[in-house]
């Protein structure tokens, strides 16, 4: 029989729940609504996460900064699956005993052919792209499309450094900086970001799950760290604020599209317009596909990362997309819709809490629905390790979706809102498209709306006169509360109108 005193002693002696990350400040609404805990990582490694995914059998596979791949076994222990990779920055399961890993020089299939739990074959799936040795030539992916093909993203080089004397791939003579100067570390005239070997700044498609030929799929990227498909099969690729990137864009990528950063235009088949950086901006503007969403610099994300699709266990969010963010302790949801043949939508802050911490790089949902976030920094702002966020039993008050109508916007909530707490503040703005790093918000326009809330308190209708194509429309609902007094979490949405 357990006496009350012994029972108390037993509780005190019991091991504490594993390293629950507590916020430095007082618990906020997010921290109350979601449970964020650390996942134990393999001992003795640099636990910056480059790739993270759940295998078909439910085990977690993670690729780390120094080139190891570990798999967490069903008993919770980690077993090393592979090692020696060069900066793996993406991992995708590929059937029993195999994973695909994107490393700097190639997309590799790691196969355990003898079933001992360790990869014994490192099969090169795609290395038909150039490398100059410039640190910024990271490689991302792969994402598997509904067409069964694999998609990878290749970074441009950065003028923060030159190139190696010996390179892989055929050097492009288009560009002011000479190969000799760049090899000597002199980057003058190169452009802030440059791509002088194929197919830097591009998305490549490798048919038939990597067994088929590789083709150039799209151009126009700078640093496409986040690449993935949404539930409806749109290829979503984000990019990082910088030159030609006023604020980090979300590109909805189609075959043959040019997605904004000019350096990679030289890889367009039949390119005959010379140095793309010298083309007039209006000409580039005509060529480019506008982003379907914008990660607002500062407010939402300075360095967006991998997209993941919410599973059914996340209730009203199921099928929506969530992105990581490196710079801030926050994630970002994207709620997209097709309007006039264009996929566009709203960015909404998610898990905007210090308890999450920053460096949110690789996202995957476990079979039980728990979101796992792997962190990295690579010497920029960021973090390390892995955190786990189970699907909540019930969602807190959130903006569920934003829908563009012929008359304005409709904002749906996960809980009934108290009308008295609503003071919608609306405006639209855009960012400059130019070679300069970043952009201020420009052409701002405050918007007025004779808004109304539905009888059930879950649908806010915002009639608007001045909806502008090519502009972000900000819907701010600061101070909004549910009818039972809970704060609306992430009370702001940024809808990028490409088509109205």
């Amino acid at each position: 029989m357990i006496t009350p005193l012994l029972f108390l002693a037993a509780i005190l002696a019991a091991p504490k729940p594993a390293d629950v990350a507590k916020p430095a400040a007082a618990a906020d609404g997010w921290d109350k609504a979601f449970e964020i805990s650390k996942v134990e990582v393999p001992a003795g490694i640099d636990d910056q996460v480059g790739g993270l995914a759940f295998l078909d059998d439910g085990r977690l596979a993670v690729a780390f900064h120094r080139g190891e791949v570990f798999i967490r076994q069903t008993d919770g222990t980690w077993k090393q699956f592979a090692e020696g990779l060069h900066e793996p920055l993406g991992l995708l399961p590929d059937g029993k005993g195999a994973v695909l890993v994107m490393q700097r020089p190639e997309l590799t299939r790691l196969v355990d052919t003898d079933g001992d739990g360790k990869a014994d074959r490192y099969q090169t799936i795609c290395d038909s792209f150039g490398m100059t040795g410039n640190y910024h030539e990271f490689a991302f992916g792969p994402a598997r499309g509904p067409d069964g093909a694999l998609y990878i993203g290749l970074n441009l080089a950065s003028s923060g450094a030159g190139i190696f004397k010996e390179i892989r791939g055929t050097w492009s003579e288009i560009g002011k900086a000479t190969r000799e100067n760049l090899a000597a570390g002199k980057t003058g005239g190169a452009g802030r970001m440059y791509g002088r070997v194929p197919y830097r700044g591009c998305i490549l498609r490798i048919a038939d799950n990597g067994r088929g030929p590789t083709e150039l799929f799209a151009t126009g990227f700078r640093s496409p760290d986040g690449i993935g498909f949404d539930a409806k099969g749109h290829l979503l690729v984000n990019d990082n604020q910088g030159d030609w990137r006023g604020s980090s864009p979300l590109q909805v990528v189609t075959k043959g599209s040019f997605n904004g950063h000019p350096a990679s235009l030289v890889w367009t088949p039949g390119w005959n317009k010379g140095e793309p950086l010298a083309l007039p901006v209006p000409e580039l503007e005509k060529l480019r596909t506008q982003p379907g969403g914008v990660f607002i610099q500062g407010e939402l994300s300075n360095s967006p990362t991998q997209p993941a699709v919410f599973p059914a266990s996340w209730g009203a969010l199921a099928g929506q997309v969530v992105f990581g963010e490196m710079n801030a302790a926050r994630l970002v949801r994207f709620v997209g819709e097709d309007v006039g043949g264009v996929h566009q939508g709203a960015m909404i802050p998610f898990l905007d809490t210090k308890a999450l911490r920053n460096g949110n790089h690789r996202l995957a949902f476990a079979p039980d629905g728990a979101l796992h976030v792997g962190k990295t920094h690579l010497s920029w702002a960021g973090n390390n390790g892995i955190v786990r966020i189970p699907a909540p039993k019930a969602l807190p008050p959130l903006i569920e979706s934003v829908h563009l109508t012929a008359k304005g916007f409709e904002v749906r909530f996960t809980a009934a809102l108290d009308k008295a707490s609503l003071t919608p503040a609306l405006r639209s703005f855009r960012y400059k498209y130019h070679s300069t790093y970043g952009s201020p918000k420009v052409d701002e326009l405050p918007l007025e709306s004779a808004w109304s809330l539905s009888a059930d308190g879950k649908l806010l209708t915002l009639p608007l006169k001045d909806i502008r194509e090519g502009f972000v429309h900000e819907i701010k609902l600061a101070g909004a509360k549910s009818t039972d007094g809970r704060e609306l979490l992430g009370p702001i949405a940024y809808y990028q109108v490409v088509k109205k």
């Binding site: 490192y122 923060g160 010996e166 970043g438």
Partner: protein, 280 residues
Amino acid sequence: MPRWFLTPLLALSATLASGQDGKLLYEQNCAACHLPDQMVVGPSLIEITKLYDKKPKEFVVWSIKPVKKRNGVIEMPSMAHLGEANLLAVREYMITASQGLKEKPAVSKDPLARPARRPEIQRMFLPNVGPAAIAVALPGDLNYTFDAGDCRLRTVWRGDFLDCWAYYKSNGKATATPLGTTLWQLPADESLQKRVKFLGYSVDAAGLPTFEYERDGAQFREKIVTEGKTLVRRFEVTTTKPVSFTLDPATTCSSGTVLNKLLTLTPAEAKSFTLTLRLL
């Protein structure tokens, strides 16, 4: 920029942006590259404070129009979008936030350094090879680099394996250092890249890799082992045409015909042969 332009803006700054704004603006715009007590992408707040402690105007001018100042450090993007008043608030915050802090010295040694597991394979940026290099530590004290770009053995060295700390501590803006003495190396020949296709490698039970690649349409398998003071390259080549190698003075072959340093093997001879590299 004319000096008169800044003066009225400086006067306005106190009312436009508060210290709290400075913290938020720093977090949103600067923190990715500037940590309080440590150089990362850019200098620490301690160093910035030293540079601009009594120089608010210079801070604003620099932030609006930065130039490349330090070797091996990227040029800061312009922060013109923040405006002078906000930049001054950022500077105030940087001074406050760095108070009492001491600059952390750069970590010069790898905290996770360990002896090489022999054999061990590590793909890495390395000197004297192309960027798609694969370093291998063999049992004993020999190490080599196989270049996946031209599909050739490129360097051999004796000693501890690699010091990759310069790479690992950052984002790859440095090559690793092979430890010990270089015994042999081949110069670059980028023209080979068009003739080869790297297919990957398999790892045997002992942990040794066998590289697989195509060259001029022939299928190569190459495994490199040590035998005494030699490095033995065991080849299995599937080909319908003769294959050839240019032999360097340190290399001998187990079969084939050598003419003017050019080794030629018939398809039958190429099925299984070795090249032996004598090392000092």
